[in-house]
């Protein structure tokens, strides 16, 4: 493992630990007076009606899925972009075919209304 990733590891530990330390410090400094009214869930000032679940809306899941597909596609394109000098024009056309197939998918999603109402 190269030393760079060790530094990144140290940095991430510190950058996650610094807010944690700050929050713990604030927790020590702050007053603690829990009461019934303070610990009720906020619902515009009235008591909570019903359980805490959300109406199923398939749109959120579909957006997540379309995002996943395009994320994977873009991640495939990164090595292609980095190796650009060694590729011929044919390879560029292959990459454009890859993008084109998924652009077709985007058009399908558009037409079928996957992007409405979220």
């Amino acid at each position: 493992m190269t030393i760079s990733w060790l530094y990144i590891g140290i940095f991430l530990v510190v950058s996650l630990g610094l807010p944690a330390v700050a929050i713990i410090l604030a927790g020590i400094l702050a007053p603690k007076k829990p009461s019934l009214e303070k610990s009720m869930i906020y619902e515009c000032g009235v008591e909570t009606h019903g359980e805490t679940w959300v109406q199923f809306k398939a749109q959120y899941y579909l957006i997540g899925l379309v995002f996943l597909i395009f994320d994977i596609e873009t991640v495939f394109l990164y090595p292609w972009a980095v190796a650009f000098d060694r590729l011929g024009v044919f390879a560029v056309l292959e990459g454009l075919l890859f993008i084109g197939i998924l652009a077709g998918g985007l058009v399908y999603a558009w037409k079928k209304g996957a992007f409405e109402w979220v």
Partner: protein
């Protein structure tokens, strides 16, 4: 060398514990959260194998997209916050026997491989790993066909999911 081994052991322990917790915690949403920890551990393993591109892609795709999708799916079903009954069903003994058999077979295979008892040789970091990857992805004698087929597979997944998930609009009121 010794630091690599220590980090590997700690990471492996974290991944195994997180994976066991994924399948054994009662609430599904907690299972999704432990899954995120297991995936992050795998990203650390990629770094240990000098594959920094794959470590970063693991975080972007698995943790940033797939884990988010799993959490969406879990939270959008009704019983996300409740327990779902006993964790074992009536095939648990058979499943435990199969797992034990698999463990015995794998351990036997690893013990007979001489690489398991010597220190690992760090793979030489080729300076242009990513360039080689990009080249081989578009090489007709390389991985071009799987590359293009992957895009068709992604298209199929997209079309299938949208077809299954779209709302039937007859009489549905606007949100």
């Amino acid at each position: 060398m010794i630091l690599d081994q220590v980090i590997f052991l700690i990471t492996a322990l974290v991944i195994i514990i997180a994976a066991i917790l994924v399948v054994s915690v009662p609430k599904m949403i907690h299972a999704a959260l432990w899954l995120i920890l297991a995936l992050a551990g795998i990203a650390v393993l990629f770094v240990l194998l000098q594959a920094s591109f794959f470590a970063v892609v693991q975080v972007i795709v698995y943790i940033g997209a797939i884990a988010v999708l799993v959490i969406f799916a879990v939270m959008l079903t009704r019983k996300a916050m409740q327990d779902d009954g006993p964790q074992l069903n009536r095939y648990s003994v058979l499943a435990a026997a199969v797992c034990l058999m698999l463990f015995v077979v794998l351990t036997g295979m690893l013990l007979s491989w001489d690489g398991a008892s010597s220190l690992p040789v760090n793979p030489a970091v080729h300076p242009d790993t990513i360039i080689n990857l990009g080249e081989s992805l578009t090489n007709p004698q390389g991985y071009l066909l799987p590359f293009e087929v992957a895009s068709i597979l992604l298209l199929a997944a997209l079309v299938g999911a949208i077809f299954i998930g779209r709302e039937h609009r007859a009489g549905k009121e606007e949100e």
